[in-house]
Each structure stands twice: as structure tokens, then as C-alpha cells.
Symmetry: C2
Subunit: 343 residues, 2 copies
Amino acid sequence: MDKKELNVAIVGATGAVGSKILEKLVARKFPAKSIKMLASKRSAGTEIVVDGQKYIVEETVPESFEGVDIAFFSAGGSISKKFASEAVKRGAVVIDNTSAFRMDEGIPLVVPEVNPHELKNHKGIIANPNCSTIQMVTALHAVKEKFGINRIIVSTYQAVSGAGAEAIHELGTQSLQFEERADIEAEILPSASASKHYPIAFNAIPQIDLFDESGYTLEELKMMNETKKIFSDDKIAVTATCVRLPVVTGHSESVYIEVDSEDVTVEAIRAAMATTTGVVVQDDPSSQSYPMPLYAEGKDEVFVGRIRKDPAHPSGFHMWIVADNLLKGAALNSVQIAEELIK
Amino acid sequence: MDKKELNVAIVGATGAVGSKILEKLVARKFPAKSIKMLASKRSAGTEIVVDGQKYIVEETVPESFEGVDIAFFSAGGSISKKFASEAVKRGAVVIDNTSAFRMDEGIPLVVPEVNPHELKNHKGIIANPNCSTIQMVTALHAVKEKFGINRIIVSTYQAVSGAGAEAIHELGTQSLQFEERADIEAEILPSASASKHYPIAFNAIPQIDLFDESGYTLEELKMMNETKKIFSDDKIAVTATCVRLPVVTGHSESVYIEVDSEDVTVEAIRAAMATTTGVVVQDDPSSQSYPMPLYAEGKDEVFVGRIRKDPAHPSGFHMWIVADNLLKGAALNSVQIAEELIK
């Protein structure tokens, strides 16, 4: 892209991620001539104010994308499938935050710190990976480059904001119902489209998204498949367990890796990680320093701590990776992709 | 023990576990002639009523154990170290729920479903394992017997009640402070004896108990070492990450195992687990059936679900193990040890 100032559109403008994309574009002074806020017909007319500037939400129709240079999509896979090609047809580059195209051949799946070179191959659509995948590959990238990683076993501790604004509201309501000993109402989690719903307040639900016939959830399969694609490594063994927690924002991950060599130290892992821009090693047991989701909320960085060697395996290491799932896990990564595109 | 009716003492009578031991003794009709409730001087005189029967708490002194046949200890390691030998000297068998003697040579560390035979070797003190260890070894025992397990990698999701009644109170207070946007006060977790305290409400803290110089926490080392001792298997590779969650009661565990053979199926693992008394396999993705801590609270059983094969490793399996940490994780297991002793 060689324009100095760009026309931008955000589809899903009223959602948890859409509003963060707008905030990040403004805060990072993205060279936008105009920002069009698009959503469903129901939300049309809604006013959004960021940094003193007012934005009026419009209904998404194919013609919305006339003259648009970059369109961010974050309104669910079905909306992306319906409108992304309309945007591309009109000359826009689509940065899609849903799972609609991520695993499609020829669609770059990009984390700018890890595989920015994939961007040059795009044909109009660029996919933004799943939130829990992004923070993990960002943290592991330098370790993989330097020492090789042949195996990842991850258990996640995911915040409700990953399921959208309604899930945040549900956790708040249930927490009060719980304290007042009232009946707990569950209508959203573990997934709005699932048949059964369970309370998330003071609970842990080992289901994120729907189940596949393999017994894994779609969220787990996203982590397993997207990691291989982003790392361009079909041979790396990745397996995941994804769990939803009563945390508002901030995904945490207990990650176990096996590196290619047996003489790697914890210090070497820490040093490698710290070379990645945006990765903060917060790892000092003696001062109880380690990442926690409550402190990662609102931050751009990926935080890593609890790095330690498995005494029972010569090349095994544990770590604890935390990031704001709405920022590096979604909105920030999308905006970084746009920044990389116009470099 | 060949007496028909026994004199029982509970040290730590006013604690989260002590009160559950009393409830379980009464509910399971343990043949107790008398139950003496012992605690610190400060709690002496407190009245506890269970099933219409009133118990008055007395201060623990060496003479408290005169005539006692079985003494349950659950008042912290220092109290066990101070009084367990006094109880044994007076002829009592001590069932100790603290970590004071667990790894001592010659002290049986017992989960009745797994290694009841170790009880015959006791010399007065029997150790009750750590809560997160008990539920894991109970669930895995039959799989290990039938197929062999050579490796365990576990990430825990632990409830605050494991840190005692004060931690339960702290979670409740912080949840309200959070909803009212008041300042959050943290004084107990991650560990009352740690220098720093962090909020647990709407957070996840990757520290349970204090750190050892290895970078592991004592809770993680307990799981690693106690599992080997209970399974009488020095060669099994066990490594753990322990995390505290805003859950009142019910520990969950994301457990990854490698079995000795490559042709084991998920169905065979489920079938093996179901043969252990007290283990409930709750595992049907098609009906969203899996264990959750909110539903395990108050239950005696260990629940297992999300059992699935690692597509990247021929003998690797994931599972999700949940139990009430105050019952099977503590009070119930202690009472079961006593029942086994008088069989």
C-alpha cells in the first residue's frame, strides 16, 4: 500500500474487539483519513466517542466498502464469510479476526512478531489468529528460532471477554447472584450456540466453543492447527486443553515445551524471549514476580514467567504466559498487521 | 485395632477441614465412643453442633491425647510436629492431614483406593496426602495398574478453600469490592506466610504455597514427590504447575499422561477408571458432560472427563479431574484411612 492516508472500516464496531480496534487505531496514530464504523442494522445509529471524536455506526452492506482501503472484520465468522469478498472486490484489504479463513490455503495467518513475511503473499484477506494462539506463539517464537521446539502441551485459563460483551455481563450478574445466594442464571457460556449453559462465576468450565467429533473443542483445535501454520512447521507436536474461568479479561496459559537440545538453561530461555519486541519476562520467584491476568488487562505486552526446567525430562520446560486477550489477542494484533502492511 | 468403639480426637477442630472430618465421622457412622474437638487456646470454648450433638472445643495440650485411640491432625504442620508424637506416646494412631511427615521414610502416605496395604507398616503416624495429589492418583490408579503410566504433566485449577476459611472469606469480600469498584484488599493469598499478597477475585495466581530454590512451589513439589511415593514408583516422571483460582471449593486438574503401550483407546481408559470405587467418569462431549468444580462441591467422588488421545503422540492422553478438595482431598480421605485401619 502506497497511500499516505487510508480509508478504514471496522465491521463489528459495537463488539468487545471492534471498539478496541478503534481505540488502538486512534492511540497509535494510524494514518486513517476516515474510519467507518459498521455493524448490524440493529446497531446502526449508535454513537461511539473516542478521544473527543464522534463515530456513528452504520449498517454493513456490500456498498459500505466502496473506497475503503483496509477493513477490519470482527463480527463473527458468518459476517466475514458474507462480506469479506465484497470488501476485497471493491479494492479493500481485509484483516479478519474471526476463524472463517484462518486455515484456508493461501490466506496468510499473521502475528507480526513471528511471521510478517507471510503478508507479502496475501490476495486480499489476511487472517488474525485466535487469541490464545497469538500470545503463545509470540512468547515462544524466539525460543523456537534459537533452540528449536518440537513439542507443546498447553492448558489455558481463559477470560470471559473472549466470548464477547454478553459473557462479561453474565459473569458480573452471576457473581452478585452468587453473593446474594440467589438462583444463578446461565445463558451464554460455555458458548452462546451450545445447547447447555453453565454458570461461570466461581466455576471453571473445560469447554470453549463447540466440540468436534475427535473429543477436542474447536478452540483447542484452533490452538493446535494455527500454531503449526504460523510457525510453518507441520512436524511440531501441539496439543491443548482450553478452560474458561471467572476472569474478566486476560488469558493465562500453562505451557510445557520440549526443545531440540538437552543443554538449554532457564536463563537462556529467558534471554531469548526478552529479545522479542512486546514480550516481557516477569519471572522472579524470590520476589513473587510472575504474570497474572488482573495485571495484564489493558496492556499491549505478552508477559511470561514461572519458567523452569522439568526435573524429569532433560529438554522439558514449563512457563506461564499471560496477555490481554482483547488487545494482543485480537485488536492490537489486527492493527499491527495493518501497520506492517503500510510500512 | 480391635476395639469396637473408639475415642477420637480432631486437632484443628475449627478449621475448614477439621469441621468436615467431624461431619464425615458422624455421617458415615464411624464407631466413635467419644469425639474430642481440639484447637488453639483462642478457640477453646467454641461450640460446634453436628447432627443435633454439641461439641465443645478444648485447647490442645499433650494430656489431651490420654485415652485417645485415633487422632486426626489438621491444624498446620507446626502443630503436627509439636503434638503428633505426644499423641503416639499415649497410644493414639495419628492420621495427619499436613505435610509435616508425608515424605518421611517409614511414614505411610495413604489413599485407601490406591495403597491401603501401606497401612500395615505404620508406626503410629499415617500421612494423608496433599489434596491435589489425592484426586489425581485416585483417578489414575486403575489406568496405571492396567496399562502402566510413565509420565504425568499436570496443570491445576485450585479453589481458595484449600488455603483455609480465611481465604474463602477473602474471595467473597474481594468479589464484592470488585463489583462495587472499591479498592481490593489482599491479605491471605497466595499464601498467608508469603511477603506479597495479590487479589484472587477475577484473577488467577500461579503460586500455591511458597517457592523452593528450584523455581517450583512447594505445592508443585508435593504433587511431584507424593505421587511417586503413593504409586511406589520412583521412575514415573511427574511435573506440575499449580494455580489458584476464584473458585470456592473444588480443585480441577488438566492432566496429561503417557501410558506404556501405544494401542490403548479412550474407551479402555474410561472403562479402567470406572472400576475404581469413588471414581465417576463423566465424559460425553455430545451432551456437554464433563466435571466442573461448582458441581463437585459437597460430593465424595472424584470426577473425570475430557478424556482424549493426543493426535501428536501415540501413547498420550489428556483428561480433566475434579473433586471436592475438602472432602476426598482432605477430610474424607482421612476418615477412610481410619475406616481401613479398623476393618
